[in-house]
């Protein structure tokens, strides 16, 4: 049962991830990424992290990807033109990445990482209270710093995207 759920969402994630990087229209890429992230959220539930799954749906698909869609429509990005003389660079990139994937799989096979059968989830592992308590005690400083980081990012984004008043747009760099 669990294996069937895992297989379904893993295949869904892989297929939509391929769509993300292969489709020429950025709107389709973004919608495929939504599918990928939702399947990953399902896998988080399977791994006993329901809070992370909910946050994945809320923060990623609910906020970040909507922001992407807004920007795509704002910039009116069309389909990417078929590549001209970059085929060699693309080939090198693909080969390097395939090599990296081979190395990752090899390290999984040669290390002690095959199998890793785990016991079924316990209520102790899934419950949220320890997570909340850790966030408010052991990780209080990083937690506050992330809040500060988000504030700084919001201010930076506002400043960067703002149209200059009076001078007729940002100067051309």
């Amino acid at each position: 049962m669990e294996i069937a759920v895992f297989a379904t969402f893993a295949l869904l994630a892989l297929a939509s991830a391929l769509m993300v990087v292969s489709h020429r229209n950025p709107v389709y890429s973004t919608m495929s990424l939504v599918v990928t992230l939702l399947s990953l959220a399902a896998l988080f539930v399977l791994l006993g992290a329901p809070l992370l799954a909910v946050l994945q749906v809320l923060v990623y698909t609910g906020a970040i990807l909507v922001l992407f869609l807004f920007v795509i429509m704002l910039l009116n990005v069309g389909r990417e033109a078929p590549s001209g003389g970059t085929a060699k660079g693309q080939k090198i990139g693909a080969i390097v990445t395939a090599g990296a994937f081979g190395a990752l799989v090899a390290s999984l096979l040669w290390g002690r990482f095959v199998g890793f059968e785990v016991a079924p989830l316990t209520a102790e592992y899934v419950e949220l209270q320890p997570l909340a308590r850790a966030l408010m005690s052991k990780y209080l400083l990083p937690f506050e710093m992330v809040g500060l980081l988000l504030l700084a990012a919001v201010i930076a984004a506002t400043v960067l995207a703002r149209r200059d008043q009076g001078s007729g747009g940002n100067r051309v760099g």
């Binding site: 895992f6 993300v20 910039l75 059968e117």
Partner: protein, 109 residues
């Protein structure tokens, strides 16, 4: 009920990461490159959660908690990164009227 071996999650994570890396290396549309980077971030999140599950199954609950908190922080940083990145795209587009990385070669060495 047989549970899924953790190595399957790690394999899936590696595959997603490499798909994202291919996208980031070979695409020329800034938006698609950014989407690929988000995909890579998420695949790493998946492997962190998988390792947290492994630690939890081995009885090391504090380590599992560390993993979950780390994923929370990665989510927050990804949100900040997306906001700043997209604002940069808007600024670039306003100046250049295009976001094709092949033609954004002002700072090329």
């Amino acid at each position: 009920m047989a549970s899924v071996p953790i190595s399957w999650y790690l394999l899936l994570s590696a595959a997603l990461f490499c798909i994202g890396a291919v996208g980031a290396l070979t695409r020329r549309n800034l938006i698609t490159i950014f989407l690929s980077i988000e995909l890579m971030l998420n695949s790493v999140n998946l492997s962190i959660v998988a390792y947290a599950r492994l630690a939890g199954a081995a009885g090391n609950l504090p380590a599992a908690l560390d993993g979950k908190v780390l994923v929370l922080f990665v989510l927050a940083v990804a949100a900040a990164e997306a906001a700043v990145g997209l604002a940069l795209f808007i600024a670039i587009y306003r100046n250049r009227r295009e976001i094709d990385v092949n033609r954004l070669n002002l700072m090329r060495w």
